[in-house]
């Protein structure tokens, strides 16, 4: 029997990763949906691209229970909700055997409350087998919507997802997707991916999705986040977070946990970078006048 010295193809390891998280979730009574990667219906990903990690969307009320259980079973926190992405939507874990898992507590672009959004997707779920393990996935329509929303903040590699899931979808499925986008209140991010963003210029999150989908400086992105915040409280949290050092990213860049001195040094370096970006932005504006 071959053991530790044998390499396991990434695509195989990822499928086992889905199965492992599903098994654990079932044991502890956690509801989750497998999204992206191996969980995507072949109709939407004919090439079968499996990605580089496992993604699951968890019922928000169950996130803490899953987090505890994963840490008890060999998953280590790689980046937190606070530091993993500017949206704060997912936290990444690393397991020696299964690799990376992204646990999503909500999906960027969806504007209804995360628990309501999960319930809406959960209501239409179906089950597929991954590594002989029954895994819950969103409906085909919902998978299409999530792929398009994901593409709104992804690189060029996700463009085929938009073409297949949206532009080439049958009219009936497109109508179902539009209805679901309305239910989830996700029109702006959806439009950012499908090329119709300018229809939403008056929406508070228009600027955010324009920058996320088309690029912009970090400071411009932070201002767009402030404007997109649904309430003053959220906006204040965005502003308060802006100058904090992302310790997880710093640790990964250094290859070790940073020392207190390094965190302090990074703290002073980031505002300098923001000021530099703002200055460059002003110069660009001035030059264009």
């Amino acid at each position: 029997m071959s053991e530790s010295e044998v390499s396991v193809p990434l695509a195989v390891r990822l499928r086992f990763g889905h199965a492992a998280v599903q098994h654990l979730a079932r044991e502890i009574g956690v509801d989750l949906l497998h999204i992206k990667g191996s969980a995507v219906d072949p109709l939407l990903r004919p090439g079968g691209y499996a990605g580089s990690d496992v993604d699951v969307l968890v019922r928000p009320a169950h996130v803490a229970v899953l987090d505890r259980a994963m840490r008890q079973h060999g998953w280590r926190l790689y980046s937190s909700f606070e530091n993993g992405s500017p949206f704060g939507h997912a936290q990444t874990y690393l397991h020696d055997v299964w690799g990376y898992v992204d646990v999503h507590r909500f999906f960027p672009g969806i504007r209804i409350a995360p628990d309501r959004a999960f319930e809406r997707l959960w209501a239409d779920r179906r089950e597929i087998e991954i590594a002989e393990t029954g895994c819950q996935v969103p409906s085909l329509t919902a998978q299409g919507v999530l792929l398009v929303l994901n593409a709104a903040r992804s690189s060029v590699r996700s463009k085929p997802d938009v073409r297949i899931a949206w532009h080439e979808a049958p009219l009936e499925r497109r109508a179902e997707m539009e209805a679901l986008v309305a239910d989830l209140d996700a029109p702006v991010a959806f439009a950012a991916a499908t090329g119709a963003l300018e229809h939403y210029r008056r929406e508070r999150d228009y600027g955010l999705w324009r920058i996320v989908s088309q690029g912009g400086s970090r400071s411009a992105e932070w201002w767009a986040r402030v404007r997109a915040a649904p309430s003053l409280g959220v906006a204040i949290r965005v502003v308060a977070r802006a100058p904090l050092v992302n310790v997880d990213h710093l640790a990964h860049r250094l290859g070790r946990r940073p020392s207190r001195a390094e965190i302090v040094a990074e703290f002073f370096r980031r505002p300098a970078r923001a000021v530099r970006e703002a200055w460059q932005g002003l110069r660009r504006v001035g030059a264009s006048r």
């Binding site: 195989v12 998280v21 060999g74």
Partner: protein, 84 residues
């Protein structure tokens, strides 16, 4: 008659004749190729007492020569919690 089966919590994949099996949620992933994959398939497919005969028939090997190896291999799969 004794039947073996994939244990609850065992995930498996068959990719181009290579069987990958793992006990969830901790692993590790076991890679079974060639004769090992054949023994796995036969162990899951019928009476435990006849696994050796079926493997021998599929490989043209003398039953007496492979019996100890096959039995030990199957016992190891059971001990790892992959089969029960």
């Amino acid at each position: 008659m004794t039947r073996l089966r994939r244990a609850p919590g065992t995930a498996t994949l068959d990719v181009d004749g290579t069987v990958y099996a793992a006990s969830l949620p901790g692993g590790p992933i076991i890679v079974l190729e060639g004769i090992a994959a054949l023994i796995w398939d036969e162990a899951c497919a019928g009476d435990r007492e006849t696994i050796v005969e079926r493997v021998a028939a599929a490989t043209d090997a003398p039953t007496d020569e492979i019996r100890a190896h096959v039995d030990a291999f199957v016992a190891d799969l059971v001990a790892r919690g992959l089969l029960e």
